[in-house]
Subunit: 289 residues, 2 copies
């Protein structure tokens, strides 16, 4: 059996998976103080006879295996978690091989191996909700260098009459600052979930998301793009994103039909835990090389 | 000995390299009719006793080894070369292992192994001249999926008073359309080479290039960025690009000092041929696995 942890900003999920990828047991914890949370997590896994563990964690986090601070949470706005050595604190209680990635890295590899990108050589996974994050996988490898991608913070060319304040502390005009949940609230006074497709901001979001997808697509050239999250999971949204994507491509790069190219996740809310399971399996292969 | 071909839009260079990476012999051909050109290329290599060949070619070109049209030039504006099966035409005369990438892929791997990125885990290589192209290397592998990147065509958020027509047939506001050589001529009436650092367009270019580098940097997270080409090789330009890059980063991602992060190529005009030599060596390793 394998253990999987999805460490999110508001909740932590832990799952036990069988060899066949089926989840056998699960707990959920509200994210609060890291020391207490990890105690609960470790307690859950301790008597479960798992061979290895996979972790997908919110970032920024040090994912560079050669780094002295590998596995440490970095400059997060969550003060209690800042500089918390996640990997070390798990390792000292559970002496197991551990595979680590970001939350979107884990979800991306879950979708790649067992979800919407199954059978594809490469895929981009993107989630657009309270924040925006993405991961790219090619030939089975999650793209990570000394750092993990920060895809949500690329600049978006604003439309001329869009003067709204960017809700990113660092960037005047980044994707997350203009299109994530808080920006929708700022733009419309209503929360992202309540925005419907007749609202003009709905169309604006679809155009901006299409622009971002095109930028990722030209740089990474994924074989498929998987998009999820609260902003995308709205009736009519993915169709509008596809239409705008086709419009701005103008045939420059030849791609699959956008209906086959820009798709929803298949694993839904389970992508992260399933991805953790994949990372756990790989952690075994790695140590037995 | 190893053979290397740099197939450019205006000239073709062929080199012979010793085991130690030293170039021993070279020819240059003006790019014209593919059949005649390949005859000359093949003639040069035929009696040279090389073990393998590496090719960096202008694109778009099919770089997907699993594709039925692997090694074929695609929809290039150069009519004679359109749909020309480059790899097949070389292979039928020289029965050797051949490694293939784009022109920027070859230059990028040259700089990665033996140039400015030596010792780094990952690097972005970018050339800004008549056109704009780039390649990304991580753990020694050139990023290529079913397609190669088209980095020059990402959208740039224009400054409000910049109304110049984009000189890209496909995109109203892409990096190449706004910043490559032809756009400088359109903007200033003078050619890119003659533009000096007191011209306001010089500053505008530095700001736009910095924006593009930031977008690549956030998505790919390279350990170093190598930039070359006629637009960048101007006194004072790289310093201005670095200043603007630091300004727009605002400390969001922690990076090396921009003077160590955004650098010139070390191999200059030889990067492409050296990269071809690396690809040739790798083609041997691959077939002997």
């Amino acid at each position: 059996m394998f253990g999987s942890i999805e460490l999110g900003g508001t909740k932590i999920r832990c799952g036990i998976f069988g060899d066949n990828g089926k989840m056998l047991d699960e707990i959920r914890i509200k994210t609060s103080d890291p020391k207490d949370d990890i105690k609960e997590v470790v307690g859950f896994f301790k008597d479960k006879d798992i061979k290895s563990l996979g972790v997908g964690a919110f970032g920024p986090i040090d994912v560079d295996e050669d780094s002295a601070t590998y596995g440490r949470i970095l400059q997060t706005p969550k003060k209690l978690w800042r500089n918390f050595d996640l990997l070390e604190n798990i390792k000292k209680e559970l002496n197991l091989p551990i595979g680590l990635s970001t939350d979107v890295g884990a979800s991306g590899i879950g979708e790649y191996e067992l979800g919407a990108a199954r059978g594809k050589g490469s895929s981009l996974y993107l989630t657009i909700g309270t924040g925006i994050g993405g991961s790219f996988i090619n030939d089975g490898r999650i793209l990570q260098t000394s750092f993990h991608p920060e895809m949500g913070h690329i600049e978006i060319a604003r439309e001329e009459d869009d003067k709204v304040k960017s809700l990113c502390d660092f960037h005047d005009s980044c994707f997350e600052g203009l299109c994530a949940g808080p920006s929708i609230l700022e733009r419309t006074g209503i929360s992202g979930e309540d925005l419907d497709k007749d609202h003009e901001v709905f169309d604006l979001l679809a155009r901006y998301i299409a622009k971002a997808l095109m930028t990722y697509s030209l740089i990474l050239r994924p074989d498929i793009i998987i998009i999820g999250g609260g902003v995308v999971n709205k009736e009519g949204m993915i169709e509008k994103i596809r239409d705008n994507f086709d419009k701005i491509n103008t045939g420059y790069v030849s791609l699959p039909r956008s209906k086959d190219y820009i798709v929803f996740p298949k694993l839904g809310n389970e992508a992260g835990l399933v991805g953790g399971y994949i990372l756990a399996k790989r952690a075994i292969d790695k140590t037995s090389l």
